[in-house]
Amino acid sequence: MPDDTPYEMGDIDIAWCPGCGNFGILNALKQALEEMEMKPQDVVLVSGIGQAAKIPHYLRCNIFNGLHGRALPPATAIKAVNPELTVIAESGDGDMFGEGGNHFIHTIRRNPDITNIVHDNMIYGLTKGQASPTSREGMVTPVQTSGVILRPFNPISTANALGAGFVARTFSKDMELTKKLMVEAIRFKGYALLDIFQPCVSFNKLNTYQWFEEHIAPIDSDHDPTDREGAFHLSLEEDPLPVGVFYKKEESKAYHELLDAFSENKEPLWKRNLDRREKLDQEIRELR
């Protein structure tokens, strides 16, 4: 384990189960940030609630650990108010696709320059083993007692259909790929989705390390990641589930670049003077 990055927290109590896929994701993230030479002061990690959503507490950078399902709205606003920050919204599949599903849809439409990392373990871990939006059909849980009857949510197809500029998937055990895709996603200008398959060793007895290894396959090198329809077809493949970059194409402008507040003045809002007395006085006089 690397312990010399500027992101290390030292000796802390981590609330994840031994062997959890989250550890791999945490390490990959620290390495990715280090590789990009990001100052912890310039990075904001936004998360919701759940085991995955605790990740901001385990590395040293600015954090906004908000409500369940609500990581994307503050992440969007943080970037819009201060575009100089690097903003990563990171949580689990239940958080991003279930509770936060509406924000997932509309954040993609907004195209903020943020990275959306999802720990996708196909189960609710912290609430002890209920189905998540990405649980496979038939999985038996204490609530879905005869097996899951809902069709699994496909974040890759959804993001692609909504026009996300960067859509990729990886497996937490594959540190190199995970780190590489994190770097690509963070560098990408615009909304970038990185869905990370991750085993839940305590509650998901179906989608184990072995299951993922047997049911994923790297995307063929002849896939053209700028081909949106091709990416969509690829996203529908279920066995094996493709990992790698499905789609990558930068729009000319990200959300904040299209805002009137930045059309002439590029400075973050906090640096701007708020003395509006002259303009406002003029405006009030015109109400005569």
């Binding site: 912890p40 507490h57 954090i63 108010v81 809002l269 509006r276």
Partner: protein, 578 residues
């Protein structure tokens, strides 16, 4: 008929028509024309939740003294559509003149109140260019009856229509001529006499709607971010700030839902912006979890809650003061908050600006409560009463050892933002330590709860004093928010020694409230709701009970007459000691 009526100094005019008929244009023209002709003016609309059809009305009072409240009295009525007269005839009496279009001659089936004067608005518009000019013809007609200078209205039409196609302005001028023509013929017949003395005291005054007062107050308070979901009657603030994005450097976003809106706004404050949301009851309910998050993160946020009658969708375009308890108790857990309820547009402006300062300094949510009546009220005022200040961002440059939630005596820790300084800024919805990291330590929990709640002491010290009118020795009428001016005029109209206590900061309450209520005689609480929420809040906070409540929950605001009658009745039946 002579106007103003004996004993009055203003004329009350009601225009009623279908949605889409341009009643609001008439309102706009008449309000501006009145002020520019040397009169004080007040107008407010009541409307249905639809885009076309139905019956909507605008009531305009024009007078020689400042006017701020709606009356039931109707001096001149202009029904412009089928069903319009039926909609407003409950307000008429033997002194109400109905200017009834000859095409609506059958309307209503029974009408036996005041004089009906036939007018030819609809036929006139055929010559000008069609029914869309009915509003300008009507405005011209009324202005002519009031003896306003036609050139003044011409200027208003020019300002309003100058950016449209060329002939729009020309045709409106023609419509104005037609209206003036109709008015002149009525006056010539001697059926109508208006005697209002213009003065020059309104020349320098400005015209403002309640909703504008909130939007401009936000600009004044240094708002540079708003995220909201459209919902009547709150949307005007989002529209107002969106139209000023470039001018003042404001980010305005229409969120996918209210949950997103408030969470975005908290993100904006975290990154150094100054954000607000604007919403009504239903949307506010969706924001409750976000409000609680603001409490835990100690994140400033300003919330404009424009009330309308609930529960659920209720009456979407009507008014009520039914959400005081919602504002007070919303959000799980315990955390400090401040609630304002402006009673005038001046208050709306100044309190909204103050909300930003208070939210920022104390790192708390501040809620500004208005209602449909308040936001749609339109009146003249002295622009000098709007306090223009230079707001400061209460943020600090962080050092390497910065702690977002460092313990302090008054509960306030210096607020750093990411990217400004060497520190790391952590905020967490879990209970957290000084650094902002998740904790389950019970000792820390106690300390953090005490730190957050410690702010209440200073907040109470800074609480706005209630607005007191009268000596407070006799009976007192207690009210909050939008009802102030109606109560004032009603109390003025009855010959009794009654004082008024208007509370514009509902939480935390100023100590002064307790003082006043301990000394007065009978306490009468007037509210636009069913349960008397302020009366209950007063009992909760001061231990004092009111003697009587005057409540209304029909969806319409109180009128001056209604308040005077209710008060009179109570005072008469309980004339002695109770």
């Amino acid at each position: 008929m002579r106007y103003p009526r004996e004993g009055y100094s203003d004329i009350s005019i009601v225009i009623c028509g279908e949605a889409g008929q341009g009643i609001q244009t008439v309102e706009e023209i008449l309000v501006k024309a009145s002020k520019r002709s040397g009169f004080h003016v007040f107008s407010v609309k009541e409307y249905m939740s639809r885009i076309r059809g139905g019956s909507n009305s605008t009531s305009i009072r024009i007078g020689v003294d400042p006017i701020r409240a709606p009356v039931r009295r109707m001096d001149i009525a202009v029904p412009l559509s089928k069903g319009a007269l039926d909609h407003i005839k409950w307000r008429s009496d033997e002194n109400s003149t109905i200017l009834l279009d000859s095409n609506l001659a059958d309307e209503p089936e029974s009408y036996d109140h005041g004089p009906v004067v036939k007018v030819d608005i609809k036929n006139q518009t055929k010559e000008v260019g069609g029914p869309i000019y009915e509003n300008t013809v009507s405005a011209g007609l009324i202005c002519s009856l009031l003896d306003f200078d036609k050139a003044v209205i011409g200027d208003i039409l020019k300002e309003r229509f100058k950016d449209r196609q060329e002939d729009v302005y020309e045709k409106n001028l023609k419509a104005l001529d037609s209206g003036f023509e109709i008015g002149r013929s009525i006056i010539e017949k001697g059926e109508f006499n208006v005697d209002l003395k213009a003065s020059d005291e309104t020349e320098d005054r400005i015209l403002m709607k309640g909703i504008q007062s909130i939007a401009l107050g936000a600009v004044s308070g240094g708002c540079d971010f708003i995220s909201s979901y459209p919902m009547s009657p709150s949307t005007g603030v989002l529209v107002g700030l969106a139209s000023r994005q470039k001018k003042y450097g404001i980010v305005a976003e229409q969120a996918e839902d209210e949950i997103s809106a408030i969470n975005m706004t908290l993100g904006a404050w975290y990154a150094g912006g100054r954000g607000m949301v604007t919403t009504s009851g239903g949307g506010y309910s969706l924001m409750a979890e976000g409000l609680s998050l603001a409490g835990m993160l100690e994140m400033p946020v300003v919330i404009h809650l424009a009330q309308r009658p609930g529960p659920a969708t209720g009456l979407p375009t009507r008014t009520e003061q039914g959400d005081l308890f919602l504002a007070l108790f919303s959000g799980h857990g315990e955390f400090p908050r401040v609630i304002f309820a402006p009673g005038t547009p001046e208050d709306g402006f100044n309190l909204t600006a103050r909300a930003f300062d208070l939210a920022d300094r104390f790192q708390i949510p501040v809620i500004i409560m208005t209602d449909q009546f308040m936001v749609d009220s339109y009146t003249d005022l002295d622009g000098g009463d709007l306090e223009l200040k230079f707001p400061l961002r209460h943020i600090v440059r962080t050092d390497a050892d910065y702690l977002r939630y460092r313990y302090s005596m008054n509960g306030i820790s210096e607020r750093g933002i990411p990217g400004y300084g060497e520190g790391i800024v952590n905020v967490d919805s879990d209970e957290h330590d000084e650094e902002g990291h998740i904790t389950e330590s019970m000792i820390t929990r106690d300390l953090m709860m005490e730190k957050r709640m410690a702010k209440m002491e200073a907040l109470r010290e800074e609480a706005l004093k209630p607005h007191m009118i009268g000596d407070g020795k006799g009976d007192i009428v207690i009210c909050w928010g939008s009802t102030l001016e109606t109560v004032k005029e009603a109390v003025d109209s009855i010959q009794e020694n009654i004082s008024i206590l208007h509370i514009s900061q509902l939480y935390p309450l100023s100590k002064k409230v307790n003082e006043v209520l301990s000394k007065c005689r009978r306490k009468i609480c007037l509210e636009n709701n069913y349960t008397g929420q302020l009366a209950r809040l007063l009992r909760m906070e001061t231990g004092l009970s009111v003697d009587h409540t005057i409540l209304k929950y029909s969806g319409l605001p109180f009128t001056v007459e209604e308040v005077a009658e209710s008060l009179g009745k109570y005072l008469a039946t309980n004339g002695g000691e109770n």
